[in-house]
């Protein structure tokens, strides 16, 4: 009986040895790819960090309103965030490549789909990033201009501008990445359409009299408040 057990074990170890011998090069190659990807990720992070700092990326991000404070922690500056994003991108790409190198059929399919998906994800993230910057810049612009025009709802206007741009950027990013199919575009169209309808209704119902007064003034050729001819009290200030 022990001879039979011995024979079965020998056969099993032989088969295992054969499998290991067959797959070992793939595993070694996978490990090499993985380690190389991690090393490359560190190098890319360092290079990106240096280059972005040198070209004043943090300052420009601050000007755009993506950060509001100058005394951010040492690893919270926008250049660090971008460098860290690039680091993880390279690591994920390395894992996908490593799975491809391993050659296991399921793993290969997963790795391939990951490799195809990554560029779309990067561009989508870039669209979102630019969208956030533009949204915050326009929000600030709208806020300052509305306050200087003495509009009481300045914050509301600024918030609307910000979210409109953010929703547009998110819809564009999602559409590019391919998440949700036509849903983001449809959702965006519905949101914008709803806002336009709401504003139209609000102006039509709430400001009907003001609009009619303005049209009357226009028809009679009278000056509007604030125009030369009807000076507001504050216009009497001689600034220059």
């Amino acid at each position: 009986m022990w001879e039979r057990v011995q024979a079965v074990l020998d056969e099993a170890f032989a088969r295992l040895g054969a499998v290991i011998a067959a797959d070992l090069p793939g595993i070694v190659a996978m490990l090499i790819v993985l380690v190389s990807a991690i090393v490359a990720a560190f190098v890319i992070r360092a290079i990106l960090r240096t280059v972005l700092t040198r070209v004043g990326f943090d300052r420009r991000a601050r000007e755009l309103g993506m950060t509001t404070r100058r005394d951010l922690g040492p690893r919270q500056e926008p250049s660090w965030i971008v460098a860290r994003f690039a680091f993880w991108l390279v690591v994920v790409a390395g894992i996908a490549l490593a799975l491809e190198v391993l050659g296991a059929s399921t793993m290969t399919a997963f790795g391939l789909s990951l490799l195809v998906f990554l560029p779309k994800l990067v561009v989508g993230a870039l669209i979102l990033l630019v969208g956030i910057g533009v949204a915050r810049f326009l929000e600030r612009s709208a806020l300052i201009n509305a306050v200087n025009q003495q509009i009481r709802q300045a914050r509301l206007i600024a918030l609307a501008v910000k979210w409109l741009v953010l929703v547009l950027a998110a819809a564009m990013a999602l559409e590019h990445v391919g998440i949700g199919g036509e849903l983001p575009t449809l959702a965006f169209a519905i949101v914008v359409g709803g806002i336009v309808l709401a504003v139209a209704l609000a102006v039509g119902l709430g400001a009907r009299e003001a609009v009619s007064r303005a049209l009357d003034r226009e028809a009679r050729g009278e000056a509007r408040p604030g125009e030369p001819g009807t000076p507001a009290p504050e216009d009497k200030v001689q600034h220059l």
């Binding site: 306050v147 003495q150 009481r152 009290p233 504050e234 009497k236 001689q238």
Partner: protein, 410 residues
């Protein structure tokens, strides 16, 4: 700088004039033509026997060959020369004038606005003599103003240039200048015409260059302004434009103004008189409202520019009643200095930064109107003097923030 001068033909034009007076053709070329003709007559009467030239300066690349000019020339036997220099746009008048003055070797040149002038040419003599015979390099014409006229100049430009450069030039934002040949040559050779055309050629640019170069500067009071100064349709835009030039010049001349302490009077000719004023002062309630609205909505933005103690001081100013609204001079000076530092370090997009100052500026205007409204001319002057002293006292704060901005980080 390339010298590109294209005058319309004038056979009787003096080849080596003692004085060149230029009038900007934009925005009203016909008015400029009229003004140049009147100035030419005035120059002949003011300086008999001395060759003088009055020209129209345009930034239009078509130069003298526009239909308007042709019409103006056809209507007159003796139309003024129209010069186009190597610059285009609304700021082209000054560099073109400098090019003409240097090319013609004129001892003095003047840039004057097309305004209706007194028939008596004594005002021209008063304006040009300091350069022609007094050895001055820059003369800034000053018009009689009311106590509440030109609050942007009184509240920002005058105290700031005075504190920075140590010269008490009362109206540095006049759009009119008289320059010596020496200063004209110096300005013309400045590299900023190429490197920074956005700022080069502005009146404040020219004045601050002269202040930083420590040339001899004089101001001449030439009576009431013939026509009220045009007011900006958008205050925040005007504020941003003026502050942008001022802060830019602060940055360029930082090595100079950090050494300047106190201030001294500049040579003054003529009598400073107050202009006639409207019976009522501007209403302050809308100005205080603008400040309160700005405080409510822009405070998060200001908190990245102003230190907490300044924000606290602004918060503590009582808004009601509007007639009691007072902004302390030291706080106003610090606010401007903090914005200058924020502009330097680009804490946010510069245009947005400068426009966001508008509510605080309107608050200061309300405070100034409240204080100066009931005062007489002498007391109003003393009030402006106190404001300027506050700017000079707070200059140490500016220097500290300019050198070590992070030490005061909000």
């Amino acid at each position: 700088m390339s010298l590109v001068l294209e005058p319309s033909s004038r056979p009787s034009e003096p080849s080596g004039p003692d004085v060149v007076v230029g009038v900007p053709a934009e925005p009203d070329r016909m008015a400029a033509t009229e003004a140049a003709l009147a100035l030419e007559t005035g120059l002949k009467e003011a300086f008999p026997g001395r060759p003088a030239l009055a020209v129209v300066l345009t930034g239009d690349p078509n130069g003298a060959a526009t239909p308007e000019t042709a019409l103006a020339s056809a209507e007159r036997d003796h139309p003024p020369a129209i010069y186009t220099g190597g610059h285009t746009g609304p700021q082209a008048a000054l560099p073109t004038l400098l090019e003409i003055a240097v090319a013609r070797d004129a001892p003095a040149c003047a840039l004057l606005q097309p305004l209706p002038r007194p028939s008596d040419p004594r005002w021209l003599r008063a304006l040009l003599e300091p350069v022609l015979t007094g050895g001055f390099d820059l003369v800034v014409p000053s018009y009689a103003r009311g106590r509440l006229d030109g609050v942007l100049v009184t509240g920002i430009v005058y105290p700031l240039t005075r504190a920075l450069f140590g010269q008490r030039l009362r109206q540095p934002l006049g759009r009119e200048l008289v320059l010596s040949r020496r200063l004209a040559q110096h300005l013309l050779s400045d590299t900023e015409w190429r490197t920074d055309p956005e700022h080069a050629g502005e009146d404040l640019w020219c004045v601050t260059k002269a202040l930083a170069r420590e040339v001899r500067i004089a101001q001449v009071f030439i009576g009431p302004r013939p026509r009220p100064a045009p007011q900006p349709s958008d205050v925040s835009e005007a504020l941003a434009r003026v502050l942008d030039i001022l802060f830019h010049e602060m940055e360029v001349h930082a090595h100079y103004w950090q050494r300047v302490r106190g201030s001294e009077a500049v040579a003054t000719f003529g009598e400073e008189r107050l202009a006639e004023e409207p019976a009522s002062a501007p209403a302050v309630a809308p100005l205080v409202d603008a400040f309160a609205l700005g405080w409510r909505d822009l405070r998060p933005l200001w908190s990245s520019i102003l230190p907490p103690q300044t924000l606290l001081a602004l918060q503590r100013i009582p808004r009601t009643p509007p007639e009691a609204f007072r902004m302390p001079d030291a706080i106003w000076a610090r606010v401007l200095y903090d914005f200058a530092v924020a502009w330097r370090f680009k804490l946010m997009e510069r245009r947005q930064l400068l426009r966001s100052l508008t509510p605080i500026y309107l608050g200061w205007v309300a405070s100034y109107v409240n204080e100066v409204g009931p005062l007489g001319p002498d007391a109003a002057d003393e009030r402006v003097e106190r404001l300027c002293s506050a700017f000079e006292d707070e200059k140490r704060y500016l220097i500290s923030r300019w050198r070590w901005p992070d030490r005061f980080n909000p």
